[in-house]
């Protein structure tokens, strides 16, 4: 695009680069005025460029448009801003207008993009192609159409998909789902690995907050995101027992110590090592993994998966020292570490704090699970076991106890079932396996006999109302129960293992480390802390998110860059799920969830084996196919890799600009009638009922199907009907006006159809044939001469047959009257044009006057075309009344003369 400096003022602002806006910009530019042309779409050209041929001369719309589009692009006096919107126009006290506008982000650096389209084929997200009126698909990464000016790619992004937005670990599920859908499994895995390591762990043991946020969950049920991940991870690991990469080639020379090898420590190590730092993990236990190894029962996370995940980290050169207890941070400093990341995790369980809580047979959850995982479980076989607590850890303990052969397992929880912090499906699974819930009971005391636990004395308990965990509890002494048990597992909270450093860094009362929430830096500048150390007990994904965040800031710290002044993660705002769901509901058929197959309950609790089978390839792809592409672009970054010019910039954001203009031309065009408003015609419901604009695409040489075919089955139509006045001259849709172009464009399409399908029958149902312009009546005669049938009678309704043909009901007005029914195999609705009222909203101080139909008025239509009620604001083309192309061009040129006169009026300042 021409590079007119953006800073200075313009003589004219033209809004809308359709045929009228382009004409106006060019003629004003030719007269020597400085023009800013703003277009909301990614290319200039408006609607005309979408047409096949244009009446009455049947010349090619593209051939007429493209030279004008090119001229607009290169005119020295015209700056055209595509993919941009005017937000507000206000009058300036000194004259002229102040214009606020927004350049929407294309996520492609226009200066670098060469229009080569290599981003298109690699993009896994299909989008209905607006250029083809949704008849065909395009990709989220695309060039608007082949003749686009400028010919630059655009990524369609509506925001961040809820799944990706929600993930605390920074994983972008939408991306790998889109890639799995496309069959690009390895790419999917690699994309995940770029965002977060521990892919296998997450695929088994993550609580998948993404699934809760999945828009499909609001419809038929969530996409099984974790299932897809597991499929992709299992498949990848089977094919790649070892990582595909080694340590980075360029090293920073900086050393980092990471204390603890749980999820946050491992994640931080991964990212820091990738950044070229030398990373050592110091783990006190004999084996690495922290809670991943000791806290999660293997029916949820097999150890082999963890081992393979660890390789993704060690392959980068990360040193893992186990059995090392770190006692002092200062010591690490003197050992030569430039920075420390403290991620010791929560190792201690809290005690019950009631009498008898130290009896034999009373365990804390951490210890219990550790022993289970260490293959040295306490003997609970044949005993009644009570697990105290309502969280996920409690569930893990209860289900493990079942698997160890416990007779009955009770889950005792102080509050109601609704208040249980464990995930609903975990509770469901536990119940399914036979765990008894004892909600609204509190432990009064543990009753022992001979030093061993013998029973639990329970007392009624309930929250005092409202929802949430913070509600106060009240004991209900009227309810008491004694539960005979042989083992009690307390799963009522964990404490972080930060006490060794209490003298060196600041801690909170609950034992967590005080760290700046954004940077995770502690009171010792070289020490950062994260995961449970900061958050308290938290999920794997949360901890990994902390590790990633810490790595980002530790890297900055090591590079000597200010920690502040940057944003760690800056996603686009989350898309509105309700809106996506509503759109999905209107059209798409239901897509039912594809659940992962599971073992029968009996087999499940017999051992610690993985009870859920992975999804098969078909199941994984079926699930991926259920993705609604909420954010449109999935952030899979395939385009980034494919672009030879390095032009893709996912971080691009909207740019706002304020300019001045001495005058404004509104060339905002029309909006087509939505044929769904006419349910009797079945558009949107009957596949072979299409609109005139769609027919134009089917007839255009650049047509989507490369032949004239009907949508339902690709059959060549042989009997086509045109239904005129769809949405025009119709009180029932609130538009009594004539849309002026539909008779002519239908006849044009009829002629083109007869040209490509000479044997087809074509019928045009009309009220009046409005062939009024120069050469139009002649065109009408010519159409009649081509044996196109014209039937006087508006179509009343359209009904489908079993084979997707259409029965068209009408009155044969001139043939004696009465209802007739004709069978056609394709019906084209000649949809009308409606005013586009958007421009009226741009003027906060008072919009130009509009008429009763909501078109912008020309108060003196006869003598002052193009002038609105506001001095200096002009209107052209269909923004003021529907016009055909020749009339739009004449009107635009006329308005240009008016603008010129306004700019040259006596006393006007340049």
């Amino acid at each position: 695009m021409t590079d007119v400096p953006a800073t200075s003022g313009y003589d004219v602002l033209v809004i809308g680069a359709g045929v009228g806006g382009m004409e106006s910009a060019l003629s004003l530019g030719d007269m020597g005025f400085k023009v800013l042309l703003v277009e909301k779409e990614a290319s200039v050209g408006g609607r005309m460029i979408l047409l096949s041929k244009v009446f009455p001369t049947l010349d090619c719309a593209s051939c007429i448009s493209t030279p004008k589009m090119a001229a607009v692009g290169h005119h020295p006096n015209v700056r055209s801003l595509v993919y941009s919107e005017v937000d507000e126009i206000t009058a300036r006290p000194e004259g002229g207008f102040s214009v606020r506008l927004t350049q929407k982000p294309t996520f492609v650096d226009a200066a670098k993009c060469t229009g080569c389209s290599l981003c298109e084929p690699v993009c896994p997200v299909p989008v209905p192609d607006e250029f083809n009126y949704d008849l065909a698909g395009r990709r989220a990464a695309h060039i608007a159409f082949p003749q686009a000016v400028p010919k630059k790619a655009v990524l369609s992004r509506r925001g961040t998909s809820p799944c990706s937005f929600t993930c605390p670990a920074g994983v972008k599920p939408h991306g790998y789902i889109a890639l799995v859908r496309a069959g690009k499994y390895d790419e999917a895995f690699r994309q995940h690995l770029e965002d977060a390591p521990l892919v296998g762990v997450l695929s088994r043991a993550c609580y998948a907050p993404c699934e809760e946020s999945c828009t499909r969950a609001d419809l038929e049920g969530t996409v099984s995101i974790r299932g897809i991940k597991r499929f992709m991870a299992d498949r990848y690991y089977a094919a790649h027992p070892e990582p595909e990469y080694g340590p980075p080639k360029v090293l920073s020379g900086k050393k980092v110590a990471i204390v603890g090898s749980g999820p946050s420590g491992l994640t931080a190590a991964f990212f820091l090592a990738k950044a070229g730092h030398t990373v050592t993990i110091l783990e006190s236990a004999a084996e690495p993994g922290g809670m991943l190894r000791w806290g999660i029962p293997s029916y949820r996370l097999p150890k082999s998966v963890l081992e393979r995940d660890l390789k993704n980290i060690t392959a980068l050169g990360v040193q893992l020292h186990t059995g090392v207890k770190v006692g002092s941070l200062e010591a690490l400093r003197s050992d030569g570490y430039d920075a420390v990341f403290l991620a010791t995790g929560t190792v201690g369980g809290r005690t019950l704090g009631v009498s008898g809580d130290h009896l034999k047979g009373v365990y804390d959850a951490v210890g219990f699970l550790h022993d289970v995982n260490a293959d040295a479980p306490p003997d609970v076989a044949g005993k009644n076991v009570a697990v105290i607590g309502g969280g996920n850890v409690a569930i893990d303990c209860a289900r493990s106890a079942l698997r160890l052969g416990a007779k009955q397992v009770y889950l005792v929880y102080r509050r109601s079932r609704e208040e249980m912090p464990a995930h609903a499906w975990e509770i469901r699974d536990a119940e399914e396996e036979g765990v008894h819930l004892a909600c609204s009971w509190d432990v009064d005391q543990v009753v022992g006999y001979d030093g061993r636990v013998w029973a639990l004395e329970l007392v009624g308990s309930s929250s005092t109302g409202g929802k949430g965990r913070k509600q106060a509890l009240a004991r209900d002494e009227s309810r008491r129960e004694t539960l005979p048990v042989g083992a009690v597992i307390a799963a009522i909270g964990l404490t972080p293992a930060t006490s060794p450093f209490s003298t060196e860094i600041a801690r909170a009362a609950n034992g967590t480390v005080k760290a700046t929430p954004e940077t995770l830096q502690t009171s010792l500048p070289y020490v950062f802390a994260g995961g449970d150390d900061v958050l308290g007990p938290s999920s794997i994904a949360d901890s990994m998110g902390q590790g990633r965040r810490a790595a980002f800031y530790i890297d900055r710290y090591l590079r000597g860059v200010e920690l502040s002044g940057t944003v760690f993660d800056d996603p686009l705002p989350e898309v509105d799920r309700a809106q996506v769901a509503a759109e999905a509901r209107t059209d798409a058929p239901a897509r039912l969830p594809v659940p992962a197959p599971r073992l029968a309950v009996g087999d499940r609790i017999a051992s610690f084996v993985d009870f859920e089978a992975g999804l098969t390839e078909e199941e994984a792809r079926a699930n991926a196919n259920r993705c609604l592409d909420c954010g449109i672009c999935s952030e899979c970054r395939q385009c980034v890799a494919a672009c030879p010019a390095d032009a893709i910039d996912l971080g691009m954001r909207a740019r706002h600009e304020t300019v001045t203009a001495r005058s404004v031309v509104l060339a905002t065009g029309f909006s087509p009638f939505d044929a769904r408003q006419k349910p009797a015609y079945g558009y949107g419901r009957l596949p072979n009922v299409i609109t005139g604009p769609q027919m134009d695409r089917i007839l255009a040489p650049t047509r989507p199907f490369n032949a004239v075919v009907r949508p339902s089955d690709g059959k060549t139509p042989s009997n086509v009907a045109f239904v005129l006045c769809t949405g025009s001259r119709d009180d029932q849709v609130g538009n009594r006006l004539c849309s002026r172009v539909c008779c002519m464009y239908s006849m044009k399409q009829a002629q083109l159809l007869m040209g490509s399908l000479p044997l087809a029958d074509v019928t045009i149902y009309y009220i009046d044939i409005r062939a009024f312009g120069k050469g139009y009546e002649e065109f009408y005669r010519q159409t009649q001469g081509m044996a196109v049938s014209f039937v006087k009678g508006k179509v009343s309704r359209i009904e489908p047959t079993d084979d997707q043909d259409l029965l068209v009901h009408y009155e044969d007005v001139e043939g004696g009257g009465g209802e007739k029914v004709a069978r056609h195999d394709l019906v084209v609705l000649a949809v009308g044009l409606l005013p586009n009222t958007g421009a009226l909203k741009l003027f906060p101080d008072g919009a130009p006057a509009s008429d009763v139909h909501a078109y912008i008025s020309e108060p003196d239509e006869e003598l002052e075309p193009g002038k609105t009620s506001l001095a200096g604001v002009f209107v052209i083309g269909s923004a003021t009344a529907v016009r055909d192309i020749p009339d739009t061009i004449v009107h635009s040129e006329a308005a240009s003369a008016q603008v010129a006169a306004f700019l040259k009026r006596p006393g006007a300042k340049a």
């Binding site: 001369t57 010349d59 090619c60 051939c63 007429i64 493209t66 082949p146 040489p701």
Partner: protein, 128 residues
């Protein structure tokens, strides 16, 4: 094969064939001129003499913004050039013309294939 195309219209169609990765023979080479009504018949003879098997004029058609009867004018050029070819002992079929509009990628490729096939099946070019 030598193609004469036009800056404003048929060039766009041929470009589109390329950007849509529609395959046609690499032996098709293009010279662009402002308007197909301005092609000199001698150029065509020159091309055949210089060794091209055939010449194709990708004409402007009715969209031509210069002359409303561009199709007829280009037709006359073709007729004259064909006469010239025959006089020089070449098959007049070695020159073809069709209107190629700015979105006529498919038709262009189709013409190239057909014309290529026709030229190949014609007897070896006789030099007159």
């Amino acid at each position: 094969m030598l193609v004469f195309s036009t800056n404003a219209i048929s060039d766009m169609g041929i470009d589109l064939a390329g950007s849509s990765h529609l395959d046609y023979a690499a032996s098709v080479e293009v010279i662009s001129v402002p308007c197909s009504s301005g092609i000199h018949p001698e150029w065509i003879l020159r091309a055949i003499r210089a060794g091209f098997d055939g010449v194709f004029i990708a004409a402007d058609g009715p969209e031509c913004s210069y002359v409303s009867d561009c199709v007829e004018r280009t037709g006359r050029v073709v007729a004259e050039a064909q006469a010239l070819l025959e006089k020089s002992g070449y098959d007049a079929g070695r020159l073809k013309m069709a209107a190629i509009c700015s979105v006529c990628a498919e038709p262009f490729v189709h013409h190239m294939r057909q014309f290529g096939d026709a030229l190949a099946s014609a007897s070896a070019p006789a030099v007159g």
